[in-house]
Symmetry: C2
Subunit: 322 residues, 2 copies
Amino acid sequence: MDDIDRLVGIITERVKARLNGSGGHAGNAGGGATAAGRADSLRVMPREELRNTPCVDVPHEGCNDCGMCATRRPESVRAVQREGACRIGAGVDVGKVDLAMAGMIDHTLLKADATAADVRKLCEEARKYCFASVCVNSTNVAKAKAHLAGSGVIVCAVVGFPLGAMTPAAKAFEAREAVRCGASEIDMVINIGALKSRDYALVEDDIRRVVQASRPARVKVILETGSLNGEEKIIGITLSKIAGAHYVKTSTGFGPGGATVEDIALMRKLVGEEMGVKASGGVRTHEDAEKMRVAGADRIGASASVAIVGGADAPKQASKGY
Amino acid sequence: MDDIDRLVGIITERVKARLNGSGGHAGNAGGGATAAGRADSLRVMPREELRNTPCVDVPHEGCNDCGMCATRRPESVRAVQREGACRIGAGVDVGKVDLAMAGMIDHTLLKADATAADVRKLCEEARKYCFASVCVNSTNVAKAKAHLAGSGVIVCAVVGFPLGAMTPAAKAFEAREAVRCGASEIDMVINIGALKSRDYALVEDDIRRVVQASRPARVKVILETGSLNGEEKIIGITLSKIAGAHYVKTSTGFGPGGATVEDIALMRKLVGEEMGVKASGGVRTHEDAEKMRVAGADRIGASASVAIVGGADAPKQASKGY
């Protein structure tokens, strides 16, 4: 057991140092991760021996010993893994969550009356379930960025939302401002009126300016597919691609309709593998999300994200799927 | 009749000259105005004699002789009046329109999918019925300004619309951009989430920045009253006043609820006579608008404006009032 104690001590110090070095919240991070493995300075234990080694708790400051590091502190678990851990102890319920799906989800809160407390809760959920991002209005970007420090979850900001009817300069400014506040992704709404008026130059210029203003953040173009006919969808996707956007996305959730399998398939067909496709609007269950994934979506926008990934604390009314 | 012919000739030349001088659309203006009156260089006719003088048509280039100058070409009629006309001939239907009410109305089109043709129609209606303004999204401000040239109808642009959840800097930029494109009034949405989070400093700063960025345009603050409780309404009105806004306004039309008599009365009570009060959201008939006026509103936001003022070409389904 002496070897194991030394091993644990070394790993603990290395994890602490790495978390400090990466600018993460060292005070809170690394708590409770239970690991056994090898360290370069120690003898390499055979896998069989490792398997029989009991887990040892390494409680840290800020750790409440819940045993849920795998979902609540993914950054700590990854740090432990990088140091060579091949087994991670975990509490009950871990493994029931669809982490692969979680990594595709933009956890979304765009209501006009969202409070600071709502934004905090959103971020806590995103941290716990390892969602790809939280998607918020630009007024909440800085708050979300602060809440998510060290979590690996990024902030996505909507721009020109939900009508898409701002001037191109105002949309670009809003995007730049959101990036300055900490957004790594920008979800802009296309100029729907200009698309319907066949003013394609304006539509393309509008997207291009946001793409340029948002660098290095990625830009998703919301087409509001429920407002468009077949031709307008094709034209909107094409203009998004030539303007340099990184994703096309179906809906705002505030307009008519939402994501459909047909629209996702059309988007994937037209953009190929060069761009992302985000399904949003009406995606409320794991079944909905899975259909979108199969049709070609590699990102899902949802408010019912906890229910979608099968989280134990999802609201009951939203948990019919999975 | 020789005197009358001379008189008409002189007035015509003066009106032409004044319209040219004022930068109006001289080619189109002044058409069909039928006037008889006095001119300083002629003998002053007694009122009785004037009353018995037959109207004489003065068709101009661009005039289709419709006899509707009083509503379609108010700028021409005003020019004729300035030259001394005391009678204006007019076609059928003139006088049925409630012009006093029309002068209080912001004729509104804020749908995401509004096309260039929709904006043109909106402006034609505003010109015809002498509405106070057209209220549009910022992408349509320049178009509306061009359509309304010489009409006396101003352009009002919405900002941070309809969620009010942009950063203060982005909202202020959008407002400045709209003013640059030709807006004379800015209808901004208050930061509802900040108001509900009791972050009153942010709410006030947000309004103040838009007020400063919009000068010389006037700013209306949309409270989205249907989302607020009684205290929040009072606080929102107070913050709008201290931040230097020119109007408080009830609703976006995109959120819950709309203008109520109680909210308008509360607004008028709190702002006194120093600020304007605009009723918007769900005002669809002359009766609705009249109730708001009586409760204290001095501006009405509506899409069904033509029906409200009793215009003959209002859509049938919206014409139950007046």
